[in-house]
């Protein structure tokens, strides 16, 4: 009975989403306030229904209701409670339900925090989001219903894929989806602005905090996915350029470009039609990612059970959403006038450089991801494009990006003076060139060209951030006063940029200085790697709620002093008969020690894989900095200030001087 109620709520949510898409849109076109105001109540109603529906599915998992097909396929009576809850989004149907619920949560957030926006704008934004939500909810209802029943109900469930029984996988999908659907807000603002013909600084300012928050979620989601791959797959790798990873990385790259382009649109009232296009692209790439993952047109390790009817449905959804928005763009964007002119040497130029490099990077990765599909469609054969291609095209684009990234914040809007910039930047140049060689050499005692490049651009970036801070506060009466007088958005930007430097250091050092050893170890055997002594102490049998396992115990010492004991496991999940390796990791800020156990080799010997991975944590630490920077930037005072004024146009000038 309860699952039917959940299904009913889902259908009702779909109908309300459709109404939310149509009624306020007409209201905005005809100027009927009550029709426009309907958008807010519809958003609330839709969210309540979807939360209810989601709650019922969760309840079915918690209470082992195996008559629900989705529960039977993704749970088991031995599955612990925490994984029963996360199993709600462990498969195709439930993850889509989570998707639509989060989408309506964003709608409701817009309804809640838009009190000072013109009603017409709110109505259009929520209508666009309502239409997208209606599309996705109908996708769930008609092709991927999580409430379908099995009759007769099976005695027990088939269990959740063991790879997904893990903390990282509990939090990774919700974060990623929050990012994906979050870009629908920026998209809806762009479409609403195009329709309303008010593509102005106020529009850019309204979009910015939403875009930044969506970007923060996406950043965290991608970082979590990478971290999960690192410790769970047992390979010690953290990025594979898999089509599904690319599907999340593409909107991130365009979203990053969008954030920066929105800054130009807000401050200088230029780049506007380009910014709108980026907003459309960012969300389109989220939809494209969904299509690629769920339709089975590409092979990937993340394969969801693919089904041609689902592929057709999402393709139609993608075609309608993106097609219509690009038609609106082609129709309305030519009327947009860009106001500001800028000189060749100006902050606008550097931000343009940022945009061009990010969009080119997106295009090359998209090309690599789709290339197998293109060749296949043209009957030219089947191929797969792997990391060598992606590394070869992506890294050379990121190097100039980071150089520009350092200069951008130091440069002036509209026109800058080469002499002035050169005078500031020469310090950064000298410091980065010297330390870029010395630092890795002192740490590791050997060099590689790419290591020097990576270290140099990272230090360059850090030096530029510090110089920026210094030049901003040096005229203030005191150091402290200088620090506190800077707006939050400045600290947000600097932290996020610092995060980029940290991640680049992590990637560079891990890629070039990791040590790896595969060997047979019997109890008592020792291995020295990266200055650490690993001793295999033996194995122990263990068992969890739904698996049996063999635990390998390795004690680590350095210069005779104990560092710790590491446990690696070979688990066998009893229901799915799937062996899993749990890596033992001793994490550290400057190095990870990583041990993964293989098969028994007889005579008490085991295959062991031992890694020493310097600075690998920095990859994710940098992402945390970026995300935290984003949060600071989005909570800047002027967005709240803006909320208190109606259109916010009159404070442009005041804030522009304060900001730059």
């Amino acid at each position: 009975m309860l699952p039917e109620l959940g299904n009913f709520a889902l259908i009702l949510a779909m109908i309300i989403a459709l109404a939310q898409g149509i009624v306020p849109m007409i209201g905005a076109a005809r100027g009927i306030p009550s029709w426009m105001a309907f958008a807010r109540s519809a958003a609330w109603a839709q969210l309540s229904l979807l939360v209810f529906s989601f709650g019922i599915l969760t309840y079915a998992f918690v209470t082992h209701d195996f008559s629900v097909a989705y529960v039977a396929n993704h749970s088991n009576s031995a599955l612990p409670l925490s994984y029963r809850i996360s199993a709600v989004w462990g498969g195709h149907e439930g993850s889509l339900l989570l998707w639509v619920m989060l989408m309506s949560a964003w709608s409701t957030a817009v309804a809640l925090f838009s009190k000072r926006l013109p009603l017409e704008m709110v109505a259009r934004v929520l209508a666009v989001m309502g239409l997208i939500a209606a599309g996705f909810t109908s996708f769930v209802v008609f092709t991927s219903n999580p409430f379908d029943r099995y009759f007769p109900a099976p005695l027990d469930g088939r269990d959740l894929n063991p790879m997904l029984q893990d903390f990282g996988l509990i939090v990774h999908p919700p974060m990623l989806y929050m990012g994906y659907v979050g870009f629908s807000v920026a998209f809806a603002f762009a479409i609403a602005a195009l329709l309303g013909g008010r593509l102005d600084a106020a529009w850019a300012r309204w979009s910015r905090p939403w875009t930044i928050i969506a970007w923060v979620f996406l950043t965290l989601g991608i970082a979590l996915g990478s971290w999960w791959a690192y410790y769970e797959l047992g390979w010690g790798g953290w990025w594979f350029w898999d089509p599904v990873e690319n599907a999340s990385f593409l909107p991130w790259l365009v979203g990053t470009a969008l954030m920066h382009s929105l800054a130009v649109s807000e401050k200088r009232s230029t780049f506007k039609s380009w910014t709108v296009l980026l907003a459309i692209f960012a969300f389109s790439l989220c939809l494209l990612g969904t299509f690629l993952v769920r339709s089975g047109v590409l092979t990937s390790v993340h394969a969801f059970a693919s089904d041609p009817t689902r592929g057709v449905y999402i393709l139609m959804l993608l075609g309608v959403v993106v097609g219509v928005s690009l038609v609106i763009y082609a129709w309305r964007a030519p009327q947009v006038k860009s106001a500001g002119n800028f000189a060749l040497l100006s902050r606008e130029t550097f931000l343009l450089g940022n945009n061009v490099l990010l969009v080119v990077a997106t295009a090359t990765i998209l090309m690599g991801t789709l290339y197998p599909l293109i060749l296949d469609a043209l009957n030219l054969g089947k191929i797969s494009v792997g990391p060598p291609y992606f590394n070869a095209v992506f890294v050379p684009l990121m190097i100039p990006l980071i150089v520009v990234l350092g200069i951008g914040p130091l440069s002036r809007w509209k026109q800058d003076d080469f002499g002035r910039l050169a005078k500031i930047l020469r310090y950064a140049l000298v410091v980065s060139l010297v330390l870029g060689v010395l630092w890795p050499w002192m740490l590791f005692g050997k060099l590689d060209l790419m290591v020097v490049v990576g270290a140099t651009i990272s230090i360059w970036l850090v030096a530029c951030i510090l110089l920026d801070l210094f030049y901003r506060i040096r005229h203030k009466s005191s150091f402290w006063k200088g620090l506190t007088s800077q707006p939050l958005s400045f600290y947000g930007m600097s932290l996020a940029h610092l995060g980029v430097a940290i991640t680049v250091v992590g990637i560079t050092f891990t890629s070039y200085y990791s040590l790896e050893k595969d060997l047979r170890m019997a109890p008592g055997d020792q291995l020295e790697l990266g200055g650490y002594l690993f001793q295999f102490d033996g194995i122990r049998d263990a068992h969890g709620p739904n698996y049996t396992s063999t635990k390998g115990i390795i004690s680590v010492t350095r210069d005779g002093k104990p560092v710790g004991t590491m446990y690696t496991e070979k688990r066998n999940y009893t229901v799915q008969q799937m062996p899993m390796t749990e890596a033992g990791i001793d994490p550290g800020l400057f190095r990870d020690l990583y041990v993964a156990m293989g098969e028994p080799l007889g005579d008490g010997g085991w295959a062991m894989r031992i890694y020493y991975k310097p600075f690998v944590r920095w990859i994710w630490l940098g992402s945390l900095f970026m995300a935290f920077g984003g949060i600071l930037a989005a909570s800047d005072r002027r967005y709240r200030l803006m909320a208190r004024r109606k259109a916010g146009l009159d404070i442009d000038a005041k804030l522009a001087t304060q900001e730059s």
Binding site: V301, G311, G323, L370, L373, K382, M578, G598
Partner: protein, 179 residues
């Protein structure tokens, strides 16, 4: 309406056309000219034991056998591996491997780490045998009968579904033919 504002729309329509075409294709299905033809002859050193030569005759010693093309650099092979292990444990059909364009020590390490489902592995370092067998990407699995005829080719990982729906019925059919 200025033409340049239509560029994104046109590019997008091309992309949609590509996807429509893509949906009709199964990335795992590649017509192989080898189906119902004799398996290409090869003779390669073994992976674990360099001295032992693995050749086409070796594959045809059984009523039916699987010939699985894999490599350590292939992520999908990692995904497929547990299923091969399960098949090997069931012991119903012998699985031979072609370790394709790989490093010997990497491949041995892989087998030690994740288990060895293979009766024997041929080591195809430069990929020449793979080319003769028409290997596009890894993993691929051929079903070979005792007369050395290629009966089926699976592109992409073997899964429970493919096994139950396609390969197992075929194997039963081959066994029935051979009595």
């Amino acid at each position: 309406m200025k033409a340049r504002f239509l560029v994104p729309l046109i590019l997008f329509l091309l992309l949609i056309g590509l996807f429509v075409a893509g949906l009709k294709l199964d990335p795992r299905k590649v017509p192989s000219p080898l189906i119902d033809k004799p398996a290409p002859q090869f003779s390669l050193p073994g992976l674990l034991d360099k001295e032992k030569i693995i050749d086409t005759a070796e594959l045809t010693k059984h009523k039916v056998s699987l010939f699985n093309v894999w490599a350590t650099w292939c992520v999908a092979c990692r995904q497929e591996h547990p299923f091969l292990m399960a098949l090997a444990r069931a012991g119903d059909v012998p699985i031979y491997g072609l370790n394709y364009k790989d490093k010997r020590e990497d491949a041995i390490r892989w087998l030690n780490q994740y288990g060895n489902p293979y009766v024997a592995n041929a080591f195809d370092e430069d990929g020449r045998v793979g080319i003769e067998w028409g290997v596009y990407g890894t993993p691929e699995t051929f079903v070979i009968d005792s007369k050395g005829i290629v009966r089926y080719k699976q592109i992409g990982p073997l899964t429970e579904q493919v096994w139950q729906e396609t390969i197992l019925p075929l194997i039963n059919e081959i066994r029935a033919e051979e009595g």
